[in-house]
Amino acid sequence: MSLPTPPAVQSDDGASIESMKQVVRRIKFESELDLEFGERVAAKAYGQKLLSCIQCGTCSATCPLSHYMDYTPRKIIAMTREGFREEVLNSLTIWLCSSCYACQVQCPRQIHITDVMYALKREAISLGFYPRRLPIPVLAREFFKRVLKDGRNTESWLLISLYLRTNPFRMLKEAMLGLRLFVRGRLTVGRERVRRRDQLRAILTPERPKNGGLVK
């Protein structure tokens, strides 16, 4: 999976990406919006702080990844607040967020931006909104399954299953690195497991609802 093409933007380190030249009709009718979306997400992301956003753009400017995003984090918040549900859930932005919390500690309204992104990721995963073969949700799922099973995650197994499900060719590309790690004892083959897996099974939600709980 390579990076999709955002509009003409230049990144910090000087990479230029081609611009799109297309006539696009852009208008939004109020009837197309999900007007409760903002409040629902706000409730999921601890406190109603999301609603107090003043659109200052600090989040976008602190974000080390915003220049790869189709919408800057500030726009995601504005769109969430205003009910642009589909655009938000289809955006690449929420997947590019690497949870570094840079925006959150500087936000002048103390919005839990990372929690907002998590809430949106959960919603997108549960509704199947994310692009096919986008490795991030797959990684999340594989990780989830592995931990559910063993209680611990063995990185080598995780990566193998990730590449199998997204891009098997990637595996060949990574083989060299894998080998270098392996000879240094940094890729373990034995699976780490928790003894009391019964406890884990008891703790985790017995029946998984199909969605993250935002819709409905």
Partner: protein, 670 residues
């Protein structure tokens, strides 16, 4: 003469106010009136749209006459707002004004609840309590105290100066106390003032010398208020006058001593130039300082440190004004009213380390830039950066320490405008490209928007986006050796990196560091932010909760010069109103002793902070001096024999309020 009524048959008139929709939308006002009508002793129960209006007040008078009412209850807003209004109405109707009780069903009920049934229930409970209580009310005489016409003004910035001059011009004696060695405050440091761009010194220094020369003003600089005792009209204030080690009477401000000081160059950071230059141990804050008297800093003066200085300054002074033995003195004055104009402090930019202040030399605060562009500033008005360069590009970052819940959540109100002003001045001085990084431009004063317009036409850049960081991290050759500002241009929706030579941080306004101590000293309140709290945000903006103490200028909240001056004038007018009335009416809520019950145990003596209680050794009874009593009631609650009472807050009044509030409910009985 009102006040003759006795506690014979109780006839209560009850009025409930809709306050437009303010009460009516949450409380079922009609139901409250109907409920009150059925309560014992209630003769008349009415609802009305606005009880505080003239017809509302007249309603009371008509009913008193027609129905021979002798107690009045109004259920409306907070007694802190309209108790006085209704007491006056009751008095006008021919009753003693204290035959009145107010029920707060707006601030305490309709504005804080949403459920009509619960709110109406609560209103009914409160009304019942008042009905029980008012029966115990007795006629009281009002208390009056005389107002001493002298005024104390604390703080010699533009607000303090303006207030002092207004009062002095009205013929009142004013003592102006300033902590620094000169008056002038922040305004004296500014270069030009927005939006007219007239020079701050040109309009301020004449007022400063007027203060110095006014026959009605006593100016004490380098002085601080040490204690305040007394009450409205009669305050005793002690002022600590710090030693300047210069005889203020003798010094003429020739500055020969500074010239001749053994220090050839200044070595101490100059406070007036916010650290951008150095001063000597003997110095004057700035050439037009008022009073024009030098002072010696004992922290750095060799004579104070070692006692072995050649004392060239003493030789230089032909008026023998230098006095190394000068001691701190404490002066006591009596005043009737006090105006606090203690100003603000600028936000410490180090608290936002992402902007690099204190780390990168070419990051400046706005106050530093005021000095830097000032013709009498450290560079003589030449814009030379700390590294010796002249800037070709300048970035001004707005809202530093404002509108930010991590530092100060309030808008400092002045930064947008002074940033525009600095942008203009910087462009004028250097012809640099100037970028403003802002969240919103707040130009809401007279001709402020026009000034903004002018700046736009000067082709100043306005980027709407709060800056995330200022770094020396260069990713392009054009960024090498410069400061890079990173912000999202939210209008365009793209993150930008703007390399600049100079960064100006538009720091916000904060309460003074010791605002809490000052507040305690004068017994007033602060808002959560730490600014002094006005009595009412709209209707009493310069009054405080302590009678006779007024506030003006930025100590009450961020303010620009026009607003500070307007408030200073208002505070002076309020003080004048008190002085010219000559006396003030006080709540007759003082405590008194029922001699028969007093056992002379002396418990109460230690409870009174005002020494109002003494023990009559002959009668072996406590006695209360009503002139000294402030009416807190602490002795009343503490008297083991129940011998002390308090007007307006008698035990039986409070017990009856309780019995009214807690009338048995179905759940209580069997």
């Amino acid at each position: 003469m009102p006040g003759k009524q006795t506690n014979g048959e109780i006839r209560i008139g009850f009025y409930v106010c809709h306050c437009g929709h303010n009460i009516g939308q949450t409380v079922d006002v009609k139901a409250v009136a109907a409920y009150a009508e059925k309560l014992p002793h209630v003769v008349v129960a009415r609802e009305y749209k606005y009880m505080c209006s003239d017809p509302g007040q007249e309603l009371i008078g008509e009913d008193v006459r027609a129905s021979k009412l002798n107690r009045i209850i109004v259920a409306s807003c907070s007694p802190l707002l309209h108790e006085h209004t209704f007491r006056t109405a009751v008095e006008k109707a021919g009753l003693n004004p204290f035959f009145f009780q107010m029920v707060n069903i707006r601030e305490n009920v309709s504005w804080v609840h949403t459920d009509t049934a619960a709110a109406t229930q609560k209103a009914n409970d409160l009304v019942r309590a008042a009905v029980h209580r008012v029966a115990h009310h007795v006629p009281l005489e009002k208390k009056h105290v005389a107002i001493d016409p002298a005024v104390l003004v604390v703080g010699g910035g533009i607000a303090g100066i303006h207030a002092a001059l207004t009062l002095a011009n009205a013929g009142k004696k004013v003592t102006l106390v300033e902590r620094e060695a000169t008056i002038g405050g922040h305004m004296a440091k500014f270069d030009k003032t927005f939006p007219t761009l007239d020079c701050a010194a040109c309009i301020l220094t004449p007022k400063m010398s007027q203060v110095k020369n006014h026959p009605n003003i006593t100016l004490w600089t380098y002085s601080e208020v040490a204690s305040v005792e007394g009450f409205v009209g009669n305050y005793t204030v002690r002022v600590r006058r710090k030693p300047r080690y210069i005889n203020e009477e003798l010094c003429v401000g020739c500055m020969e001593c500074i010239e001749k000081c053994v220090y050839k160059e200044g070595k101490t950071s100059d406070e007036f130039n916010v650290g951008l230059s150095k001063r000597k141990p003997v110095y004057i804050p700035f050439p037009q300082a008022t009073p024009q008297v030098v002072l010696i800093d004992p922290e750095v003066c060799i004579e104070f440190k070692s006692g072995k200085c050649k004392k060239t300054c003493v030789e230089a002074c032909d008026r023998d004004a230098i006095d190394f033995k000068q001691k701190e003195t404490v002066e006591e004055i009596r005043v009737g009213t006090i105006i606090l104009a203690t100003g603000f402090k600028t936000f410490d930019a180090r608290r936002v380390p992402v902007y690099g202040y204190g780390k990168y030399p070419n990051v400046y605060t706005s106050l530093e830039v005021e000095r830097l562009v000032n013709a009498s500033g450290p560079t003589g008005g030449e814009l030379i950066l700390r590294d010796g360069r002249r800037p070709k590009t300048v970035g001004i970052i707005h809202c530093v320490g404002s509108r930010d819940k991590n530092t100060n959540r309030w808008c400092s109100r002045t930064c947008c405008m002074y940033s525009l002003k600095l942008a203009h001045l910087l462009k004028e001085h250097t012809d640099a490209e100037v970028y403003n990084f802002y969240i919103d431009i707040r130009a809401a004063g007279k001709t402020y928007e026009e000034f903004y317009d002018k700046l736009l036409e000067e082709n100043i850049h306005f980027i709407r986006g709060r800056v995330a960081e200022v770094t020396d991290w260069a990713v392009r050759p054009s960024e090498e050796g410069r400061l890079v500002i990173r912000a999202e241009d939210t209008m365009i929706g793209i993150v930008r990196r703007v390399p600049v030579d100079m960064v100006v941080l538009a720091v916000g306004m904060e309460p003074q560091t010791d605002a809490g101590d000052v507040r305690r000293l004068f017994n007033i309140s602060c808002s959560t932010e730490g600014f002094f709290l006005e009595r009412h945000p709209k209707l009493a903006p310069v009054d405080t909760f302590t009678d006779g103490i007024f506030i003006a200028g930025a100590c009450q909240g961020p303010k620009d010069i026009p607003d500070s001056v307007a408030q200073a004038g208002a505070a002076a007018a309020q003080a004048l109103a008190l002085i010219d009335r000559g006396e003030i009416e006080l709540e007759p809520n003082t405590a008194y002793v029922e001699a028969e019950l007093c056992s002379g145990c002396k418990t109460c003596l230690g409870l009174c902070p005002y020494h109002a209680i003494t023990r009559n050794e002959e009668l072996k009874k406590a006695e209360i001096n009503e002139a000294l009593c402030k009416g807190c009631g602490t002795c009343v609650a503490g008297c083991p024999s129940g011998a002390i009472h308090q007007h307006l807050f008698e035990d039986d009044m409070i017990f009856s309020e309780l019995s009214g509030l807690l009338e048995p409910q179905p759940a209580d009985c069997c």
